[in-house]
């Protein structure tokens, strides 16, 4: 089973089976408070997972997590790090691998699977999330590849809010705004990547911005 953790928007934790069956999902939509809720959500997701797939009413059985999928962003830094730190530590605690996943990939897979279920063709689209400071983060996708993973046409990038629609028009991508990143889909991206023996994201967070600092100017006179 795979534990998914994403804190790029709210806080989302889920446990899925290797074939994508969702065992549990615990979320907080609050765009702040990641450090406060992450422990309880983890505990709840693991406890719920013991009762079998969501909706099942079986007796509890042991949950053996084999991988931790970490949402690497993009997202506001402070919150994003809480989830990556938690995923890193959980993987260490259990002695299992950490699988980094671009958070937008989870949303993209959700969109593509939903359309596939309803038999619709999905035109090229962009996952768009709030990046604060009057910017959006976006990643453009076009369909699923042979491994069932969303095909990234562009890597995650930032754009001023007012420029987004023009940018997406240039790229020929429909706009899909996301207010949450589903951890169960994040875990499913990881499951498919593991099955295909592929690495789908680097192990560094997708900050997309340099730290907001400047080298201090020469000292100012204090006057006398």
């Amino acid at each position: 089973m795979i534990l998914g953790i994403d804190t790029s928007l709210g806080t989302a934790v889920a446990v899925v089976e290797d074939d994508g069956v969702v065992r549990s999902a615990a979320t907080s939509p609050n765009p702040l408070g990641h450090a406060e809720v992450i422990g309880d959500l983890l505990q709840r997701a693991l406890a719920d997972a013991a009762f079998g797939p969501i909706g099942a009413t079986g007796a509890p059985e042991p949950v053996v997590v084999t991988h931790v999928a970490a949402g690497m962003g993009p997202g506001p830094f402070t919150g994003l790090r809480v989830g990556i730190a938690a995923a890193t530590a959980f993987a260490l605690a259990r002695g299992i691998p950490l699988v980094p996943v671009a958070s937008h990939d989870a949303v993209a897979l959700e969109v593509l699977l939903a359309d596939a279920m309803s038999g619709e063709e999905t035109p090229r689209f962009a996952v768009v999330t709030d990046a604060r400071r009057r910017e959006f983060a976006y990643t453009v996708y076009d369909g699923l590849d042979d491994d069932g993973l969303p095909v990234r046409v562009t890597e995650p990038a930032l754009v001023p809010r007012d420029d987004l629609d023009a940018r997406l028009a240039d790229l020929g991508a429909r706009r899909h705004d996301a207010a949450a990143v589903p951890a169960q889909l994040l875990a499913l991206v990881a499951a498919r990547a593991i099955a295909a023996g592929r690495r789908v994201a680097a192990s560094e967070p997708l900050y997309l911005r340099s730290p907001d600092v400047s080298v201090p100017a020469p000292r100012k006179k204090v006057g006398t």
Binding site: I5, T7, G33, H34, A35, E36, V37, I38, G39, D40, L42, Q43, L46, F77, T78, R81, V82, G83, I84, A85, A86, A87, T88, A89, F90, L92, A93, R94, G95, P205, Y207, P211, D212, V213, S214, V215, P216, R219, K221, V222, G223, T224
Partner: protein, 361 residues
């Protein structure tokens, strides 16, 4: 859980040091510190976002190294599964930096199914002394001086009775060293640079002000510190020299500035010892590395009949072992673990030794 001699891993990320420490009761097994200090040098001070990024990068290797070091100390393999509890600093400190440690600690505790103790960073500095095998007796006065804090505490009981007597109302002492170093054209971190520059300087050459030390300050700020006026005084003094076309005697300025800082720290600490009739003074915090501060403290404390305790430097700077050590004391004292709902508290008061205490382990 072993409540008599618990094996605890502590995580400390309140400032620019990623500290992972492992203790067994009061026995220090490992003390791993990864610092991002070099990355802050060009900015002349700790940049919170850079510190937080560095914590996340350092986390996994630091935990691995702490386990390896603990195994070497114990002469047998220590793994995370052996832990009785996990401990973490929840404040005070830089919020974004604290959150990295908190996220990791909660997941470690849930992943291992072990109790979690969220503790106070400042009280952790006091607990560091317990790991030396030669701890100070209580009650004791404690002077904690670093780039992030300058606090004078009265400790009657480490796990239940720590009182803040006073703290800085503006800059921390370490910050004052950094800022004055910049005024004198020296690099970051300022403490060692000022020390180097002060060699051969006359500490009595310039009488810089002692903040909050006038008779009129005694009613409200007897044990508080202020270093911002001192920094301004140094800047003004050097500017006047430069404006007059005279050379700035860097060694004298550095020595006189350092003397002003040391004087006010030691005077207030010993005043607290006298007023509370506690003939013991414990030092902690990174600025304790300053040799002049240690010398003056020992000399004047001896004169006043006060015993001084100075833990080794790697236990004085921010570290995870002190956090693990404090949690071990709380466990031995029978305190229940913290619940999982706490967050980072950048201004956590020192009276909150443990945060979110609740679940009996």
């Amino acid at each position: 859980m072993n409540r008599d001699n618990p094996l605890v891993l502590g995580i400390e990320t309140s400032c620019d040091e990623t500290g992972i420490g492992i203790v067994r009761g009061r026995r220090l097994l490992s003390n791993t510190i990864a610092s991002s200090m070099d990355e802050h040098a060009r900015y002349g001070g700790v940049v919170p976002e850079i510190a937080a990024r560095a914590h996340l990068e350092a986390l996994q290797p630091a935990i691995a190294r702490a386990l390896a070091d603990a195994s070497a100390t114990e002469g047998r393999q220590i793994t995370l599964a052996d832990l009785d509890a996990v401990a973490v600093t929840s404040g005070p400190g830089l919020a974004g930096a604290l959150m990295v440690g908190i996220g990791a600690a909660k997941a470690l505790a849930v992943g291992l199914d072990r109790p979690l103790y969220a503790v106070n960073h400042l009280v952790g500095h006091i607990a560091a002394d317990l790991l030396t095998g030669d701890a100070v007796a209580y009650p004791t006065v404690a002077l904690l001086v670093s780039g992030g804090h300058t606090s004078l505490l009265l400790v009657r009981d480490l796990t239940s009775d720590v009182q803040m007597l006073g703290e800085t109302v503006d800059d921390a002492a370490g910050e004052a060293f950094d800022k004055v170093a910049r005024i004198l054209g020296l690099t970051y971190p300022g403490g060692p640079e000022i020390d180097r520059a002060a060699v051969g300087g006359d500490p009595t050459a310039i009488r810089f002000p002692r903040g909050l030390s006038r008779a009129s300050d005694m009613a409200e700020h007897r044990y508080d510190f202020s270093f911002s006026g001192l920094k301004t005084a140094v800047a003004r003094w050097t500017e006047q020299r430069e404006a007059a076309g005279e050379p700035v005697p860097i060694a004298d300025v550095a020595a006189s500035f350092r003397e002003a800082v040391v004087d006010v720290l030691v005077t207030k600490a010993l005043d607290a010892c006298a007023r509370y009739d506690v003939p013991r003074l414990l030092l902690g915090g990174g600025v304790i590395a300053n040799r002049r501060l240690r010398e003056v403290t020992v000399a004047r404390a001896t004169e006043a009949g006060v015993e001084v305790r100075i833990p080794p430097l790697n236990l004085c700077t921010d570290n995870g072992a002190m956090i693990a050590g404090l949690a071990a004391e709380l466990i031995v004292a029978g305190r229940p673990a913290s619940s999982l709902q706490f967050g980072a508290d950048s201004t956590l008061p020192v009276t909150e030794i443990q945060v979110a205490e609740g679940v009996r382990a």
